[in-house]
């Protein structure tokens, strides 16, 4: 009983840490650009397929090192140009938020079906990042889980460092607070929008590479991941990065417990109920501003 609970908590922490990486990317892009990205989950799958192509299809040297080193620039370029070509022309219109939602919904269908057309409908499995297990007392930890946890936390810390200590990060924060004011002091607003979108693409893509090792690369996983990331962001407070971190861990735990005790099929219902209850009492989310 006790060991079961510890196991569930570990699995919740693991999923929660990767969810945090993805949800914070989304909180960032919503906080800065105010664009509601429905294609977010498709970039998760894109990360998975990118890793699969390199590791299994091509069989590249260097394994996951090469994958991460190439995935980051690849996802950055994809995100940057998608924002430049698709989202930024919409920004001039009055109802652009609604249009951006619709456009990204179409984009997500396009990408998901595109994956099926290119790679086929079957699930793809990625090799484990490291093999083996460690025994600590009565518990057995998979090395893979530990590495995934460490990598996603490292990713989060890197992100926090960039946001708070570099000029780029400060420019992003300035645009989030007041786009007009940022432009007056000479920050290239449009480039910051595109760069933020690209950074969020990197974060969800890396999340895809990490979690697909455990859950397979699945072209139909995109919607579920997208809604999960959005639920976490809304639950934590839209645009609040700290709130998203806590919310991701809570949702990760909730999923692990509900999945274990009630069955996997109830996860989505439980998550939605939690979101509805939270929003009914705190419409701005856990840590969002009024």
């Amino acid at each position: 009983m006790f060991i079961e609970i510890i196991d569930i908590i570990i699995s919740g922490l693991l999923n929660g840490s990767v969810y945090a990486l993805m949800a914070i990317g989304l909180a960032l892009v919503y906080g800065v650009t105010k664009a509601f990205n429905f294609a977010y989950g498709s970039f998760y799958t894109m990360g998975g397929y990118f890793a699969w192509t390199l590791l299994v299809s091509v069989g590249i040297k260097g394994g996951y090192y090469t994958v991460f080193l190439t995935a980051i620039p690849f996802l950055f370029v994809v995100g940057f140009f998608l924002e430049k070509i698709l989202i930024s022309p919409l920004r001039k219109r009055s109802d652009w938020q609604m249009k951006a939602m619709m456009l990204t919904l179409g984009l997500s269908l396009f990408l998901d079906i595109g994956y099926i057309a290119i790679f086929g409908p079957r699930l793809k499995s990625l090799p484990d990042i490291v093999e083996g297990t460690i025994d600590i007392g009565p518990f057995a930890f998979m090395n893979q889980d530990i590495v995934i946890f460490i990598l996603s936390i490292t990713g989060l810390l890197c992100f926090a460092w960039v946001l708070n200590n570099t000029r780029i990060g400060m420019a992003v924060q300035a645009v989030a607070q007041n786009p007009m004011g940022a432009q007056i002091v000479g920050i290239p607003k449009d480039r910051v929008f595109a760069a933020t979108f690209a950074i969020s693409t990197i974060m969800v893509g890396i999340g895809g590479i990490l979690l697909s090792q455990k859950n397979f690369v699945n072209p139909q996983a995109s919607t579920g991941i997208m809604i999960k990331a959005w639920v976490i962001t809304a639950f934590g407070g839209m645009g609040s990065i700290k709130g998203s971190l806590y919310a991701a861990l809570i949702i990760g735990m909730l999923e692990a417990f509900v999945g274990y005790y009630l069955g996997m099929i109830h996860i989505e219902v439980a998550v939605l109920t939690l979101l509805l209850i939270t929003l009914a009492f705190r419409p701005q989310g856990l840590m969002g501003k009024e």
């Binding site: 456009l103 179409g106 984009l107 396009f110 057309a117 109830h266 929003l279």
Partner: protein, 333 residues
């Protein structure tokens, strides 16, 4: 768009659709397409009403459609309610659920509403497939297989008899379109527009956001539920496949192509989308690829859909005529 041109566009479109069975009544494929155009045109119009006019980012339209279908199917299969009554009851059930979903949404800002309603749609599928859904008679992942046809005036209306069903759906479509026009052009439509443009200012003039937003949730989900129920009695089988992103995106294309908040435009968008969707069916998986790409292209290039294009074109011709008139005047002088 003024009332006169709105009614003209609606009258011409539905008039043509209503006459077509006289010519193509022999072809069952074309009749099926025509019937689906009718059903989707009302569902898409309701979405346009709530999103384009009332300005609520409700993404639960497909969910309401499926709830209507399931409630009517469950009522008629498990409880033996006659379909003509169960369709109406399904509308009331869906309307009530719409109001319940609408209540938390009233407090929330735009994107949150989209999120809650979309998550509602995603959570509906595991609910219907799971033990809770089976308990109310959803049939789990197998779905409901033998839904009885509508029986009225000693006649059966179902997919076995395409032309009678078409005219049955046609009458319902005309009634619902009339209701939508009355709502849009009456006091309510003005209130919706006022709330969409500036909620605070509208409230200061005594327009209650609470009342009107809840009303629009109730009405649109009622009509959507009725048409979902109509659909299920037409095809006779039902499963959770209706809840896929594919159906959602196709509905989205109708409203994007027609123009958001340009009411009769969405009917034209439906005619276009259903036809293109059927034409592309032999292409297999590439059909959805094209449909997804279509959303992106239309949103980028046609801000107001077909309606915007027609308006631009007629403005252009109007200006040209005016210029010609000026030129002829000048030359005569």
């Amino acid at each position: 768009m003024n009332t006169k041109s709105m009614l003209t566009v609606l009258g011409v479109t539905y008039g043509v659709i209503g006459i077509l069975p006289l010519f193509i009544g022999d072809s069952s494929i074309l009749m099926r397409i025509l019937t689906m155009i009718l059903i989707w045109s009302v569902v898409a119009s309701c979405w346009d009403l709530i999103m384009g006019y009332a300005g609520i980012f409700s993404f639960g339209q497909v969910a309401f459609y499926v709830i209507g279908a399931y409630s009517s199917a469950i009522l008629s299969v498990s409880l033996g309610v006659p379909p003509i009554l169960s369709i109406f009851l399904a509308g009331i059930i869906t309307g009530a659920i719409g109001v319940i979903i609408g209540l938390p949404c009233l407090k929330l800002a735009g994107p949150y509403v989209a999120l809650v309603t979309f998550a509602f749609q995603l959570a509906l599928e595991p609910f219907l497939k799971g033990p809770l859904g089976k308990a109310i008679g959803s049939g789990g992942s197998r779905g409901i297989i033998s839904v009885p046809p509508i029986h009225l005036f000693g006649m059966d209306f179902s997919s076995a008899e395409l032309i009678p069903f078409f005219y049955f759906a046609f009458v319902l479509t005309l009634i619902c379109s009339a209701v939508i026009v009355v709502i849009l052009k009456g006091h309510w439509g003005t209130a919706f527009l006022a709330l969409k443009d500036s909620e605070d200012f509208a409230a200061s003039l005594g327009v209650s956001a609470f009342k009107y937003k809840l009303l629009v949730f109730g009405i649109t989900s009622f009509i959507t539920g009725v048409f979902g129920a109509l659909y299920v009695h037409y095809v006779g089988i039902l499963s959770t496949r209706m809840l896929s992103t594919e159906v959602f995106t196709i509905l989205l294309i109708m409203i994007v192509v027609g123009g958001i908040g340009q009411y009769p435009g969405v009917v034209l968008g439906t005619v276009f989308t259903v036809t293109v969707n059927e034409l592309l069916r032999p292409m297999g998986i590439y059909r959805l690829l094209i449909m997804g790409g279509l959303v992106v292209v239309v949103v980028l290039l046609l801000p107001d859909g077909i309606t915007g294009l027609i308006q631009k074109f007629s403005d252009f011709r109007f200006k040209k005529k005016k210029n010609q008139a000026v030129e002829t005047q000048e030359s005569s002088v």
